[in-house]
């Protein structure tokens, strides 16, 4: 096993007196595709937001290549550039075109020159099938297109890992496929490490290397999709999956 990219060690997070995450630990290795599943309100988003430091953990440690990301000397901007995030609500920059959404962060954060940044952005926009919409503003495209553009924006930073927070949950059912296809393609071909919070059980089962099942702020089970979907060790995992698969 190679050394992990990200290690979460005994992570906890409370909002006031409400403990949302309790003693979460797991490692993420290079190139792994991990799905995080569980009912709403379990703390899945909070976990991803802690990893990206959009939320400050209450206790515990998060390491990036062994370095403590909470240390005051840690280069947070560089870390965030290398560990991207894709949001449920897309969060494309509304004032910029699709192309500029992908170019500006490269220029500002990675100090790439415009030409290089644009070439890179075009390359990834093409990969997600959004190159022809590069001059559109976010308000002028569909949800699926927005999410594909947001994925291209994350990819344009040439990250090691991308955190996906329910990337298809805000989409109309007929638009989910196009985004899932992009993600499946990434998982199969890019070698990028992916941490995906999802309710798409097909993605968790067929695409990921590992599935983490969470319940009320705890990791209940963390195993291969074969075990989780075939023969879970914890009865609660089985209950959850029975419910999910029945509804789909």
């Amino acid at each position: 096993m190679s050394e992990p990219i990200i290690s979460v060690e005994h992570l906890g997070k409370s909002f006031g007196t409400n403990e949302v995450l309790t003693d979460i630990s797991f490692d993420v290795s290079q190139g792994e595709v991990i799905s995080i599943i569980g009912v709403s309100g379990t703390g899945k988003s909070t976990l991803l937001r802690c990893i990206n430091l959009l939320e400050q953990p209450s206790y515990g440690t998060i390491r990036y290549h062994g370095e403590d990301i909470l240390s005051p000397h840690f280069d947070l901007a560089h870390y965030r550039a290398k560990v991207g995030m894709v949001f449920q609500q897309f969060n494309l920059f509304n004032n910029l075109t699709v192309l500029e959404n992908c170019v500006v962060p490269q220029v500002k954060v990675l100090k790439r020159d415009r030409e290089e940044a644009e070439k890179n952005a075009r390359n990834y926009l093409e990969k997600v099938g959004m190159l022809q919409y590069r001059n559109a503003k976010p308000s002028q495209i569909s949800g699926g297109q927005k999410q594909r553009a947001a994925i291209a924006r994350a990819l344009s930073m040439d990250p090691e890992a991308i955190l996906f927070d329910e990337p298809t949950s805000a989409l109309d059912p007929e638009l989910i496929g196009e985004v899932l296809d992009v993600m499946k393609n990434l998982a199969a071909n890019s070698g990028i490490t992916m941490l995906v919070v999802t309710h798409e059980m097909s993605f968790a089962r067929d695409i990921s290397d590992r599935v983490i099942f969470m319940e009320s702020g705890h990791v209940v089970e963390d195993d291969t999709p074969a075990v989780i979907f075939g023969n879970p060790k914890m009865p609660r995992t089985r209950e959850f999956l029975n419910r999910m698969l029945k509804n789909q």
Binding site: N52, L54, L76, A77, H78, Y79, R80, A81, G84, M85, F87, Q89, F90, N91, L92, F93, N94, N95, L96, T97, V104, P105, K108, V109, L131, Q132, Y133, R134, N135, A136, K137, Q140, A150, R153, A154, M157
Partner: protein, 250 residues
């Protein structure tokens, strides 16, 4: 000598139009410059007020920022809480008394209108900044952008666009409110009206003309600002570029 209202109006206009137009022009450019200065001041104040608090462990930065933010609030409260006319007197005569500074009237007017507008603009801008969705900031942060990069590339362009109607409104208000500068003898439109009505003691007639002139200025401005807003929104359509166009485009 004219006898009726409808004879007086053309008579007075013929006699005073160069003076009145000059006054109107003064009102217009004072309010334009004052609003521009106010816009910049307001933007800066709002930017300072929306800087996130640094961790308490960084003592110097924490308290420095607190102090500067307090000054910003004090500035806003003072200028929004007193009449513009009083501010004009206090600033103009205050500078004369304590700094022995006899500012050119135009410069003094600019300081007065600029500071006053700046206080209102600061609150307008702040509301504009706050109203930009939180997700925009989070996305920028998740990409590694700093607070200032996020502000300049993402938040402010959206915030300014959103408050543009209010900014235009401040401009229109200033066209009228510069009339109080007559208290320090700036010859803007109202002041000119006062001189023009003195000779024949025809207050109603002269101020009717003045009122119409104000109305023409404000109505034209409102129309113009509306047009500018539309322009700034950019094209409402975009080209879906197919592969051939793609080649020629690169």
């Amino acid at each position: 000598m004219p006898t009726t209202f409808f004879e007086w109006i053309p008579f007075l206009w013929k006699k005073y139009w160069p003076l009145l137009l000059k006054g109107a022009w003064t009102s217009l450019y004072l309010s334009f410059l004052g609003t521009s200065i106010g816009f910049v001041v307001g933007l800066l104040v709002a930017m300072v007020r929306t800087i996130p608090d640094p961790p308490k462990s960084k003592k110097v930065r924490y308290w420095l920022l607190k102090a500067v933010k307090f000054l910003c609030v004090a500035y806003i409260e003072v200028f929004r809480g007193t009449p513009l006319m009083v501010q004009a007197m206090v600033i103009y005569y205050g500078l004369m008394k304590f700094a022995s500074l006899r500012l050119p009237l135009i410069v003094a007017s600019m300081i007065i209108v600029g500071s006053n507008t700046g206080a209102y603009m600061a609150e307008i801008m702040r509301s504009g900044i706050i109203s930009v969705e939180k997700g925009q900031t989070e996305a920028a942060m998740s990409l590694g952008m700093t607070h200032w990069q996020t502000m300049s590339c993402v938040i402010l362009p959206q915030a300014i666009r959103n408050v543009l109607p209010s900014v235009g409104n401040e401009f229109v208000v200033n066209v009228k409110d510069t009339s109080v500068l007559n208290v320090i003898a700036v010859s803007e439109l109202y002041f000119v009206g006062k001189s023009a009505s003195g000779t024949y003691l025809k207050y109603f007639e002269v101020y009717s003309i003045v009122a119409v002139m104000y109305l023409i200025m404000t109505a034209t401005l409102s129309k113009l600002l509306g047009r500018i807003e539309k322009k700034l929104d950019g094209p409402s359509e975009y080209q879906v570029l197919n592969d051939e166009e793609e080649e020629s485009d690169v």
